[in-house]
């Protein structure tokens, strides 16, 4: 298994897109921090960019990579190797290289310009989001045979998590305005890893008052240590569940 990971990594680290992605993140984060004199403000501006770009690149790039590696996967499957190991190696390789790109492009500037707890949480959340969306991409690509369809599904999923989900939540909020919606909101936010990451970082930034009454409930739930642990656990589940499902599917897939 280690060997397959090694070769997937060698292939990925020389990929032009991962290099371009790293440089792109680096340019964005450096320019944001240089434009804002207050690192907290910089984090806030960066947050909104990161929560859109990181899931998009992670999911689309991973999907395309898996489809392009179809014949390579075929070659590996015909060798004396376990299918589970092949699939998990590809996941580890993809996850590691995307995480590395994020760390080099975004994590390091954040930790230099904002070396306090918000910066650390933001880096950790970025890494978790990367891993989650690589796992979702693997699931999308194992479920659909057709490359164009698979990429379409990935883009749609990204669209759902960044825009449509928030739209649905807003719609529900307005529909049930007369009822106390604060507690269900906590539950809703658990259904979207991007929202979870956003809430956690916003709470740390002390501008959560902008979120109104809901923020008090959020602060109660997410603000303390247990809330943090719960969030990280939920996000790990968000990475683990699609991965587990995709392993099951890949085990029975006809290549």
């Amino acid at each position: 298994m280690k060997k397959i990971i090694k070769y997937v990594l060698i292939d990925l680290l020389r990929n032009r897109i991962t290099i371009a992605y790293t440089l792109f993140l680096l340019v964005i984060s450096l320019s944001v921090f240089n434009l804002e004199d207050n690192p907290s403000k910089g984090i806030l501006s960066l947050l909104n960019l990161i929560l859109i770009i990181v899931p998009l690149v992670s999911i689309v790039f991973s999907t395309i990579y898996v489809y392009n590696a179809a014949e390579f996967i075929e070659l590996l499957v015909s060798q004396p190797l376990k299918r589970v190991n092949i699939w998990l190696s590809i996941f580890t390789g993809l996850g590691a290289s995307m995480c590395f790109a994020f760390l080099a492009g975004c994590g390091i500037p954040v930790l230099i310009y904002a070396p306090f707890d918000v910066g650390i949480i933001m880096t950790a959340m970025g890494l978790l989001i990367t891993i989650i969306f690589v796992a979702i991409a693997l699931l999308a690509s194992v479920l659909t045979r057709d490359k164009a369809k698979g990429i379409g599904v990935s883009v749609l999923l990204w669209f759902y998590f960044t825009l449509i989900f928030d739209g649905i939540v807003l719609f529900l909020l307005f529909q049930f305005m007369d009822y106390p919606m604060e507690k269900p909101m906590v539950l809703f936010s658990c259904l979207n890893p991007i929202d979870l990451a956003r809430i956690l970082i916003l709470l740390k930034l002390d501008i959560s008052a902008l979120m109104g009454a809901t923020s008090a409930v959020f602060r109660n739930f997410f603000g303390n240590q247990w809330g943090m642990i719960a969030t990280v656990l939920i996000m790990t589940a968000w990475a683990f569940m699609p991965l587990w499902w995709s392993v099951r599917k890949f085990n029975r897939k006809d290549l």
């Binding site: 060698i10 004396p80 190797l81």
Partner: protein, 235 residues
Amino acid sequence: MIIATNVNKKFSKLTALDNVSAVCNKGQTISLIGPNGSGKTTFIKCLLGMVVPDSGFITFNEKNISHNWQYRAAIGYMPQIGRYPENMTIAQVFDMMKDIRKQSAIQPDEELIHLFKLDTMLNKRMGTLSGGTRQKVSASLAFLFNPDVLILDEPTAGLDPLSTEILKDKIRKEKQKGKLVLITSHILSDLDDIVTEVIYMQEGKLRFHKSLEQLKEDTGEMKLSRAIAQVMQTS
């Protein structure tokens, strides 16, 4: 060595394999022949565990191959279309396969690498290679670990006449060592002097499995291509 019993496989509505049973023994060189879409490649992929049959089972050396992966160490497979990570060089691909198979006891058989003159371009990246050169890499990989069973899917498609001859000589050599060789090809003239048995497939069914002599006798033709043409006409 390989025994397939009542193997069925359906791709949604299309029946790719319909109750296929076959016995392949050591020392045989079997050619899988049939029109396009008759299930040859699907059958090969079932043997390799790349396609999971809906029903029926396949045994390799008396062991069922489902949920088993070690048996593939004894198989060299050359796919119809070989594609490799584009950023890797030829040398890296060979090293990777040696690394993955890690059978240090077996001296790797690099004869084909030399005969195909791949060793002069080991630093070329896979992405820049032509179709024929990739085919050569696939062939060299299939023979690299001295496997007991060779499964070659359209080995001569895309190869120039000289390389085809090199590959055929190599197959003959391995055949003499008593290995089981399975070949699919549409270029029947390539197979004429190598094959000992013929499996003819059509619409997912195994029509017959005969020795080459038997087939020639039954059809009254001397050449494999003519014999098969006659079979195709009558069926």
